[in-house]
Symmetry: D2
Subunit: 291 residues, 4 copies
Amino acid sequence: MELRTDLAVEAREIAGEHVGGVEYRSYHENGLEISRLTVKNQKAKQALGKEIGTYITIELPSLTDNFTETDQRLVTIGKEIRRLLPVHGLVLVVGLGNLEITPDSLGPKTSSRVLATRHITGEIAKATGLDKLRPVAVMQTGVTGQTGIETGEYILSVVKRIRPNAVVAIDALASRKLERLGCTLQISDTGISPGAGVGNHRTKITKETIGVPVIAIGVPTVVDAQTLAIDLLKGDCSAKTRKLLSPQGRQMVVIPREIDLLTERASRLIAFALNGALQNEFDLPDLVSLM
Amino acid sequence: MELRTDLAVEAREIAGEHVGGVEYRSYHENGLEISRLTVKNQKAKQALGKEIGTYITIELPSLTDNFTETDQRLVTIGKEIRRLLPVHGLVLVVGLGNLEITPDSLGPKTSSRVLATRHITGEIAKATGLDKLRPVAVMQTGVTGQTGIETGEYILSVVKRIRPNAVVAIDALASRKLERLGCTLQISDTGISPGAGVGNHRTKITKETIGVPVIAIGVPTVVDAQTLAIDLLKGDCSAKTRKLLSPQGRQMVVIPREIDLLTERASRLIAFALNGALQNEFDLPDLVSLM
Amino acid sequence: MELRTDLAVEAREIAGEHVGGVEYRSYHENGLEISRLTVKNQKAKQALGKEIGTYITIELPSLTDNFTETDQRLVTIGKEIRRLLPVHGLVLVVGLGNLEITPDSLGPKTSSRVLATRHITGEIAKATGLDKLRPVAVMQTGVTGQTGIETGEYILSVVKRIRPNAVVAIDALASRKLERLGCTLQISDTGISPGAGVGNHRTKITKETIGVPVIAIGVPTVVDAQTLAIDLLKGDCSAKTRKLLSPQGRQMVVIPREIDLLTERASRLIAFALNGALQNEFDLPDLVSLM
Amino acid sequence: MELRTDLAVEAREIAGEHVGGVEYRSYHENGLEISRLTVKNQKAKQALGKEIGTYITIELPSLTDNFTETDQRLVTIGKEIRRLLPVHGLVLVVGLGNLEITPDSLGPKTSSRVLATRHITGEIAKATGLDKLRPVAVMQTGVTGQTGIETGEYILSVVKRIRPNAVVAIDALASRKLERLGCTLQISDTGISPGAGVGNHRTKITKETIGVPVIAIGVPTVVDAQTLAIDLLKGDCSAKTRKLLSPQGRQMVVIPREIDLLTERASRLIAFALNGALQNEFDLPDLVSLM
């Protein structure tokens, strides 16, 4: 049994703050606490168990704090996403996970709110000014058990056809701490690694495997019951504890009771910010009204 | 912090097997493990924290074991429910809980599958033989935050109007053990007590408050994170642990990742068995085809 | 076969504009076309087939015209609703219809967006200022086939218990003209008559039967196929036509392909306006953020 | 304005029964009325407006007639589908249409019930006998407005990657006659043509464009309002009629009120039969229990 987290900032907490090859700085903007963590070399990668690259972490307001479409915090989040995107060209947005398993539904719920524009072309687009929108395509991979197609393979088949300049992959994450559920947003330029996400994808979805940069965006929706147990027991876990926590091999997760609201809020927030990041010529409210 | 469970058999495990005034026997039927626990007096009630009355507990097959509509186990479960029902007269089936919060959705999901027949009257009913069906009415209370009406008050208002001979209240439960999630069915003649259920209703729904017998049916869908922690820490919980487990006062629960499937299966199973229990003149498959 | 419409303005078009006992005037406000039609006496009632009372009709912008939460048109609609409400006291908002049949789902979809406040009482409410909110309770009746309880009987049982000063009943309507689908809002102080609505309720829900004023709010979502046929054939319908239009007695309706979007938009619009009408001490955007 | 139908049997009714190059025969099996229509040459293709190939039409029982999983009629339908499938090899099942627009949701609803097996490989599959299942992959295309990817392009990208022996495309259809809604199943080996389906896809999905045989399966869920009008008016339609039927250019369709139930039933029926057709080594009930 080991501590499981998809968040780079938690991996750093676990490995210790003075690991070599890890750069970390944090700042505030528009009332949001933002940090940038860079894994710079192989040594840092192994110490943290995180791919080489940049991880931006944004602490969101607590669940009771509603945001509106014109919230400046959304603009701030959108800017952080935009910095990782190529300046021009087609972007393929991919929702990972299972729509029917609430804690795993962040990906499909969010991607279905992203404005697809790749098909808007021709005279009408020119006449209405819509030809100035950045081309965006949107897909949901479903889960391999329902499609018979590995997630990475599915994305690759579409990437080969439509040749995007970048992929944005949205997925539900696991964190180590209950307080972060629904309240922490991680954006990275490192793609998705095997075993990450609530659905535990088996394939790597990175520039290496897909051929184009992969920006990963996620919010933790669960803490693994085993990770919570290790924290409570300070690592002192017997075989009996393990069995108790995983009856008949079923994986148990800890969630807030209001998991449905949490997933809904995170999905709307990411979709708003991502639409703003992708279509930077336009005001966020206008785009939202198109949704 | 204390151990929380809505299951009488777990309350007995906690209180000890030799508490006075508690009768307990178990048996097997059609491959199901069934137990009958009777809380006989005030002393037993206080020791177990459970109302005086009978609690039937049925261990369901594990989640991977599918049942079909003609499964004899459903007939067995139906018979156990029927024993607690009055022989004749109108039954009001009530789904408690919140359809939009998956672990709390068992009540509304199940009740929406129960065959309502109270309105089937007159010449057509006679001609088709449907007048032999037992009269059944079905309601869903929603949650007070969405209706502004207390659950007990809502049920009472309908009971006063349609005057049923009994109420069957279906609700998601909390258990102490992860292995019981989705796999234990409790049927009791004691109604619903304040603080029970995943949604933690504040009002008592019993013969005392409603005026007619209240049969409660439930399946555990969550373990409270605090209850799990107590078990793991053998009761040795600090204030820091409590805060960790309940950030910003949010209530955390432990669920299997496949909570949606678990709730769906339990809901279908209870609905099949309950329809069979209510309409005992008819074969289960015929009824199911009406659903 | 006869022309079916739930809209008073269409009933007036059919009966002719010079029927005695019908008052009609129209005006513009905030870009909305609003009319007030009053059925003043028995003669007018029989000529129009509409109960005595006031019918306010608001032409909504076409489906492609999005409105935002701060839209002044919502304030205008809210004011029209508020004029028909009692100044003080509890209001029970009732969603009629079937959530699972899209064209009939306007009632439950809308009422689930109305802010319930009746349960917000006590010290906390005072401290937060929430005790100034008007008390509102919200219920959904479901359909008799699923509950075994007549819609009117269900409402009456709750009314007798919580004793509201008024009931607001929201229901999907049938209109005569396709162009009105999703684009016309009718508000009346006459309650709901048998045979009205997409679900064709059999019971009257009026001050007479319920004991308190009943405000009805609806938007047409369907045109009956038979009504369309009469218009196309100028009333010249043979028995063969009738059978063609109603195979095996099934009732056919005409809808726009985008019926789901239409119902969603109408539901949000009514909920926004109604929340504003009920909670007039507060700004609409604030309320919306509570939703 | 012209009569619109996606059903070959209706195209034949319109063109006349004695058009050259059209073969037609009908028979009964297990209480189902089945017909085989073959468009044999270019002349027949132009007369009927249907691609060259075979169209099997099965009249389903009326909506009130429930079928169960062991119904022999499902076996019959499964056999008809199997005849058009290649004997061995991977099959890609594609659900076309929009899950959020009920009359257009048949494709995604059905495909999500088809058993994906392509990923079941290796030692475990051998040990459990699951390696004998035919490999099946399942995808849903969504709609271009939401994905930015043309339906045909999307399918082609996956076909190129996973190289199936055949594609099965499921889509909601438009018929000319109301009595056929939900009650007629068409299976063809001709793929999908532009303008077909409720969603009116613009691209051809056929062996020609995709590179492998495309079996199309569909059930009509709508009649175009204009087609109904032509039938009612015997073709005598003025410009005014056209405008009345298509206000603001919105496309109107005629549906039964119970469109949700109709789509649900058709989706389950096709999924059962298709699973049986694909996995012919296994009994239908066993497969169903896997769903």
